[in-house]
Symmetry: C2
Subunit: 336 residues, 2 copies
């Protein structure tokens, strides 16, 4: 019998909580039978939202949490003080083995800090990176680290490369994924101090398929499967993806409305255009896992709607089924 | 009488030299009467190209240079050894006052190193940044530094902000330009070590309009006029702009060709779409000036066609007419 995967979901996190979070949870439950969700947050508010839907009640439960950590709070302080917050309560469910994974659209800082402090790192992992999938013209690439560890060291980046390879191979299904380091030129001697120090270390890793440097220009063209970079750079890449995508789409829409001729053209081409742009929308690919923890933590965008929540919950299935953490653990400990 | 601006152009630099360089030069000469160009490079090759065009011969001359510096050569070595290269010969024309500006689509490293070694920095300027204009939905922003000084210090970034302000105000004509530092969150306490150190210094500058942090997401939406960042980050931003733009346009084109209905739509909306995408094409905005040198050096993209060369040459006019270097000099020395 297939194992039931249990996901704790932060019902209070993000701009659209609890409405869209509860909706996405119900959608996930209704789409997959091998999933069980524990909604963590203010019970009354969650029940009010749940009353709008029909779903398999056996696979959806609520754990009450009266506090909420906001984006404005300092993460470490918030995690230490707000023991009754949805994030802390949910992370404890994972720690205690009552859930396999945690999904939150709440404060990134609190989720990252809480994940490390409460669940803890896999033995040997120095820094757990945040690793979202980003769309390319060939499919998707994994961007690692996109915001968890600013001012990381070379040894951290090497671990990011290894953990990212495991994820791409076993969750996304890319055999022997191509690993590249973000650089400002293709040659080995190019780069800043961190990249120059990391490059030869990656070159010496026999357990990953390191293809060298990747310039940012090649990322959207699918130049590598695992894109390794320091968190500041990764965050800039991820956010520019969002910003440039929305700016261009806005420009195109207003451009198409500029003449009568183009308006008719727009009407005819709308379905095809919509499909195209959807394939380049990062939110289609679920949330970003925090790799290297003793449990799965998935951070989704603060503006997540039900679709992102649903995708993030379903993403946990593959992660757990493929025993990614067990694989990472073996990888990091044996091959360091 | 209006002053004639003299621009030395590297006829041998870039993927399309000398053909497109010569073509762009002739176009610039034919468009503006207050410009004089000295084409620097292999005389015979330049003359062969020039024979295809008609133009005012009084305003176009050739200075022979037999050597060419390639992208593969180590910049410092190349500048020191290849005294007869088009880059070194042209930079000496600027140094000796025979030209006001230098435009090159050749090796970025050689142009940056050569600019500093041969022309030299304005007194007080610690590091000259490369500062291209990038398109936004509101117009353009200046990205400074996009590749000249990796691993820069906080004091360098403060100077980038000041020089960038002068440029945006007097060349682009934005009154009291909004200056922001690229960051991974909007709050003052966010960031890596460099940004945390630079932020309060910028906040204390009374001579610039510092508006705080900008997340990469807001850059294409025109969130600031002067975008300050370290060269590695700036290079990633610039190249991702290019890569994401071309990837999305490719996606959209193939999306529009996917059904008969959308094909007809595409035909009708093509002129409007083309106009829209053109406004988001970085090459429309000329080259990137290297700010803070005792003379103007403009680096254009290695793949520049005649349009970029023409725009880069014409851009020199405003720079010289507005006495940007004199303004930078006063700004840096008086207000440090």
């Amino acid at each position: 019998m297939k194992r039931m995967v249990r996901v704790a979901v932060d019902a209070m996190g993000g701009d659209n909580a609890p409405g869209q979070i509860v909706k996405g949870t119900v959608e996930a439950i209704n789409e997959r039978e091998d999933i069980q969700v524990i909604l963590v947050g203010k019970e009354e508010a969650i029940n009010a939202e749940l009353s709008n839907y029909t779903y398999d009640k056996e696979r959806l439960s609520i754990v009450n949490a009266n506090e909420v950590i906001t984006n404005e709070e300092a993460p470490v302080m918030a995690i230490r003080r707000k023991k009754e917050s949805s994030i802390v309560v949910a992370l404890n469910l994972v720690k205690n083995g009552e859930a396999d994974a945690f999904v939150s659209a709440g404060s990134t800082g609190a989720v990252l800090v809480g994940g490390q402090l409460i669940i803890g790192r896999i033995k040997g992992v120095e820094r757990p990176p945040l690793a979202p999938l980003i769309p390319t013209i060939k499919g998707v690439s994994l961007l690692v680290d996109c915001g968890a560890n600013v001012d990381a060291r070379a040894s951290h980046l090497v671990q990011f490369a290894k953990m990212g390879s495991v994820y791409m191979e076993h969750v996304v299904g890319i055999k022997n994924p191509r690993v590249a380091i973000v650089n400002i030129g293709a040659e080995e001697e190019k780069g800043n101090m961190l990249v120059k120090e990391t490059f030869p270390l990656l070159k010496n890793c026999n357990d990953i398929n390191f293809i060298g440097s990747i310039e940012a220009r090649e990322i959207p063209h699918g130049g590598a499967d695992v894109i390794v970079c320091e968190a500041f750079v990764g965050n800039v890449i991820l956010k520019l993806y969002e910003g440039l995508g929305s700016a261009l789409v806005g420009k195109i829409k207003s451009g198409l409305m500029s003449t009568t001729r183009s308006k008719i053209g727009a009407l005819l081409s709308k379905p095809a255009l919509k499909e195209t742009l959807k394939s380049f929308d990062a939110s289609e690919y679920g949330g970003a896992p925090l790799l290297g923890l003793n449990g799965l933590v998935v951070k989704t965008h603060g503006s997540s709607k039900s679709i992102e929540i649903k995708n993030s919950i379903i993403q946990c299935l593959t992660f757990v089924e493929q025993e990614i953490n067990e694989k990472i653990s073996i990888y990091i400990q044996e091959k360091e």
